[in-house]
Symmetry: C2
Subunit: 209 residues, 2 copies
DNA sequence: GTCTATAGAGTGATAGAC
DNA sequence: GTCTATCACTCTATAGAC
């Protein structure tokens, strides 16, 4: 073991520590120690702590998009496309748990320029889902709704799985993916006898606002 | 303005800073400055930074549970109960955005004992949703499914709204609540002609694991 | 209840030897 | 490419005057 390039060793150590303690709570010394070197040596591989965070985020966002495109390749039926996209998203998030968690919680650690870079990649990814929802809606396979809000809802739903999933828990990745797939497809269609029902009704007053 | 007790002023300043920068990135000096006092004075009101975080989290969790109970009071029909619970959750999260965001992202800043305390409150809250799902399933109003996973899915879904909602955006709190309500109720029931469909199919290989 | 001053530790990052 | 040593700074928290 440990014949991997030091740059990768450091990245993996950082992924683990950023995941467990958070970006600001994890220190360069800790990351260096977990990589088997002194902190000064770490700066030979990454020019700053922020550069290390950015490297982690860029890789996971690129891999995420590549995985989605591979999951959708050759799938044309609209319901099948949505199922494939959801399944791909869930699988990727459950298997690269730590990095995905960081990508969803540590964007505040980035410089403005790097932040914009990552957000652009995330937007491009979300757009794929919005396009599937939109064309499903136009084909009348899905009920009317707001593409953006539904895409956020679907993505967060699946992403959240990554935060409680335990690899040796009672459900496998594929079982979880299937539960989500069915829930989402049912949600996008309209349940039998569904009224568009004016909701509201009185809401209790908010305490301590 | 500013006739409120200093303890509350500090808590509000901390909520704002923990939300914008994160618990570890926000400093006691900044919180004190935003409260109009020096940092040493802050320790007269809270014995540590962690105590301040815990105070924020305890209040928001208690208010959250109280709001859910008020939302469900007197509602008996199972679908109506789920709608009321979802609507209450969305309303509360959209109106107390910052504190709820902190409650969902800064639990790592707590001591072990305080962490357990907050998690217990969160579990009790989730259990209310699980009971609604479970009895809906037994009444055959909802399709078969895993109560816990579905409750996590529903809660995260709605909670996520709090992270992108803009009070002066194009949708109101009630419109968003209604979109989520419909999506969730449809998801819990089963869309017409829904097969329980063996999912899977080949999945592309994961890059760089 | 707020202040000034400071203790004591840890931070990200750099210099320069090997 | 890794090391030791250190800089300059910030952090949480405390002591004690007013």
């Amino acid at each position: 073991m440990s014949t991997a390039p030091m740059k990768d060793t450091i990245r993996q150590a950082a992924i683990d520590l950023f995941y467990r303690k958070g970006y600001f709570a994890a220190s360069i010394s800790e990351i260096a120690a977990a990589s088997g070197i002194r902190k000064a040596s770490l700066y030979h591989h990454y020019e700053s702590k922020e550069a290390l965070l950015f490297a982690i985020l860029k890789i996971i966002m690129d891999d995420l998009m590549a995985f989605l495109e591979a999951s959708l390749a050759g799938v044309v039926d609209i319901e099948a496309r949505m199922r494939a996209a959801v399944r791909g998203h869930v699988q990727f998030h459950l298997r690269r748990q730590k990095e995905n968690f960081i990508a969803n919680s540590e964007l505040r650690g980035l410089t403005e320029a790097h932040y914009q870079d990552i957000v652009r990649r995330r937007d491009a990814y979300e757009r794929v889902f919005q396009e599937i929802i939109g064309s499903g809606r136009r084909q009348r396979v899905f009920a009317p709704g707001d593409d953006k809000i539904l895409s956020y809802a679907i993505l967060t739903l699946c992403t959240a799985g990554a935060s409680w999933f335990k690899p040796d828990g009672r459900l496998t990745v594929d079982e979880i993916a299937e539960i989500y797939e069915n829930f989402i497809i049912s949600g996008l269609k309209r349940a039998e006898g569904e009224a568009v029902c004016g909701a509201a009704g009185g809401s209790p007053s908010l305490l301590r606002v």
